[in-house]
């Protein structure tokens, strides 16, 4: 015998429970400081030359935060767009294809960004 709360805490019968909802909150929390850092870094880079920009990206502190920003942004984006597709796209087949496309595009864009950062760091 388990209470309803106990079952929910055990992540329910599908073993997923509120994971999707929770991860949207976790990534949003991570994005709060990262977004402020990114916007104010971009202000500092306004009008910067190619060499200055590449040098800025290649600094370990900036590269690590950029990679964290990329991971959180595209995870949050895939999660959020999936909810929008689930609410508005009908019928089910179209919705499923939309969600798959959202995930594929998000992962590919994230990897493109990450590879770019790693390449800049390696070249520096």
């Amino acid at each position: 015998m388990r209470s309803a709360l106990g079952r929910v805490r055990g992540l329910g019968s599908a073993r997923k429970g509120t994971h999707h909802w929770w991860m949207l909150r976790v990534t949003s929390l991570a994005l709060l400081p990262l977004t402020f850092w990114f916007v104010f870094s971009m202000i500092g880079l306004a009008g910067a030359s190619y060499v200055e920009t590449v040098l800025w990206i290649s600094r370990p502190f900036n590269a690590v935060l950029l990679l964290a920003l990329i991971a959180a942004t595209f995870h949050h984006m895939a999660n959020g767009l999936q909810v929008v597709a689930e609410d508005y796209v009908r019928p089910e087949t179209a919705q499923m294809l939309a969600v798959l496309a959202i995930k594929a595009v998000s992962v590919l864009l994230a990897l493109a960004c990450a590879v770019a950062v790693v390449r800049i760091v390696a070249a520096a």
Binding site: S28, V117, I120
Partner: protein, 148 residues
């Protein structure tokens, strides 16, 4: 009854007390929400700004990939971002970013269990709008100072 093409439509069908079938609307249904009320307008704006920001990530991809490719590719991004259209897009994205960030913070406070009283809800809603305007203008004043 009409044929159902979507399994979830089963959730939408019910019966009235006299036994006749009825097709109930599912949320979000725009007939019920009044977009002149602040909270429903802010709610859909949160979604719209999230979608716009998603499209805006393409600029981040372009910027990073160009920086990794070389000076020539990077010059093209810089040219676009410095053009009238580029600056307009960046300004719009700044506003969208601050709106989604502040409205998202409001949602996190609700998730935490705070701010559900109606007067608080209107106050935080106004704070999101004013905060978006202030942060957007502040961001661009600072950007223009650094740029100049």
């Amino acid at each position: 009854m009409t044929t159902q093409h979507d399994a979830r439509e089963a959730l939408m069908t019910g019966r009235r007390s006299d036994g006749t079938p009825v097709r109930r609307p599912l949320s979000p249904h725009l007939q019920v929400y009044d977009m002149m009320q602040m909270n429903s307008a802010l709610s859909i704006t949160h979604r719209i700004t999230g979608a716009i920001w998603s499209a805006g990530t393409l600029l981040l991809v372009w910027w990073l990939v160009a920086a990794a490719t070389g000076e020539e590719s990077f010059a093209r991004v810089q040219w676009f971002l410095g053009s009238f259209l580029g600056l307009l897009v960046l300004f719009g994205l700044t506003a969208v970013t601050w709106y989604h960030t502040l409205a998202g913070l409001r949602h996190l406070l609700w998730d935490w269990g705070f701010g559900f009283e109606l007067p608080t809800m209107y106050a935080t809603g106004r704070a999101v709008l004013i905060g978006t305007a202030v942060l957007t203008v502040l961001t661009w004043i600072l950007a223009l100072i650094f740029w100049g």
